[in-house]
Amino acid sequence: MKRYRMFILVAVVLAPCMLRAQQVHIDVEASEFRKMRVAMPAYAGPGDLTGQLWTVCARDFAITGLFEVIAPQGYVNPGPLGEIQPGSLKDWTLIGADYVVAATVSRQGQTVLFRVQMIEISTGNVIERTTYTSGLQTMERAVHAFMNHMLKEKFALAPLFSSKIACIKKVKGAKQLHVMWCDGTGGTTIKGGGSLVLNPAWSPDGKRIALVTYYRNNPDLYVFDTVSFRLNLLAGLKGINITPAFDPGGTRLAVTQSSDGNPEIYLMNLDGSGRTRLTNSWATDTSPSFSPDGRSVVFCSSRAGNPHIFLLDLATRKVTRLTYEGKYNTEPVFSPRGDLVAFSHLAGDGKYRIGLVRPDGSKFRVLPGSGLSDEAPAFSPDGRLIAFAAANGNIYVTDLLGMAAVPVTTGGGFSEPAWSPFLK
């Protein structure tokens, strides 16, 4: 109706000078963000493989932040469908789908073949028709390859599903390092490092994870090599050696230590040399995170009375307070894009939420998250998404508007996610 009125308005104004068809201009502003809708009928193939791959694929679509999967209960043809026939597109238009994905799964020995077809319904274009292969034990990798290819070719986005999340997993009373793909598949719990491991932080090349263990009955800082699986002590000063963060070059670490009295933030080389004190306050300063250009560090400090987020300019040592909302803001992390800082924010209802603020302290907002109590945010390597730990002990992934928080673990016991760079 709005459009129709626009036509008439332009017509009245321009009619006197019209000799031929006129050009009309219309501005369309979206009233809200809405995800694109994907229909996923059941896959064709042996049931022990298809159900598992369908579940991974549906979760991966949701994790991207671009799509929502339409519940299969409403499908005209719920499948199994190995391929969509061009004449059946109306079945998917009827349920409001923007895309439909069909696949055939088969097995040859220890190899899984995932033949997937994705159609853009509005144009009728087949935007993906490819067979991906993977080992039987790692068949989620075939879905990851499809998702990465689709994101790159059709949306010019980075290969999200070549990144991992390291976190802490509680196993029989012990807290240990757990590493999984960013959708929760392919998880491995790494034993060693004692019964209490904390604060994982990836190196920029994805080959090392700095972490804290109580292996020597003190919170000491170690670096875990993900290739050799070796764990090397980096800092074991008296007091705490916690919350490590690599600098963007991967040559130095910022860490919280209390050997000089109260907790302060220090910078050191990866062999422990060149130790420099970055903060100097009567209060507790902790949880450093570098800006992507390496010029500044956000951290948490109680220098204003309650824990809040501050930004330290490394060249001038000037400290700027970023948060004033609420009484408890902790665990800040800089976005890899440099445009946001995420942190754990104690909301008015007594629950934690993931807070966001720009590095100049403006645009504070809070993500709805899981609806539980959410802490410990970690940005995806492209800065489009945030992983966090919810009060039910599971890791979730959300887009930056918080339109959907997708659990990537089940069963609980998970905390402190750290998102890797894109891995090769």
Binding site: V24, A30, K35, L157
Partner: protein
């Protein structure tokens, strides 16, 4: 009509409310979409793609007033799409 069919994903690559995608459309006498051409990209591929998908979902536009057609069989419409302002600003 387009707005109701447009699913703008929360893909805020630049966290930038100034994203704008402009299409040139040729709409026939009965409101049918005859041609569409991307005039100006927003530079954000997911955003541009969401506009393309929305245009593809339109069965038919309102019939353009005859005075706009002025003897031709179509009218040209440039349409600029921008994301919701409230969230990003």
């Amino acid at each position: 009509m387009v707005e109701s069919l447009w699913r703008t994903p929360p893909e805020i690559e630049q966290m930038d409310a100034s994203l704008q995608t402009t299409y040139l459309l040729r709409v026939g006498r009965a409101g049918e979409l005859l041609q569409k051409k991307l005039l100006v990209s927003s530079g954000n591929v997911p955003f541009d793609r969401s506009v393309l998908v929305a245009l593809g979902r339109i069965g038919r536009f309102p019939q353009p007033p005859l005075v706009l057609i002025a003897g031709e069989d179509w009218v040209e419409v440039t349409m600029s799409f921008t994301p919701p302002k409230g969230v990003l600003q």
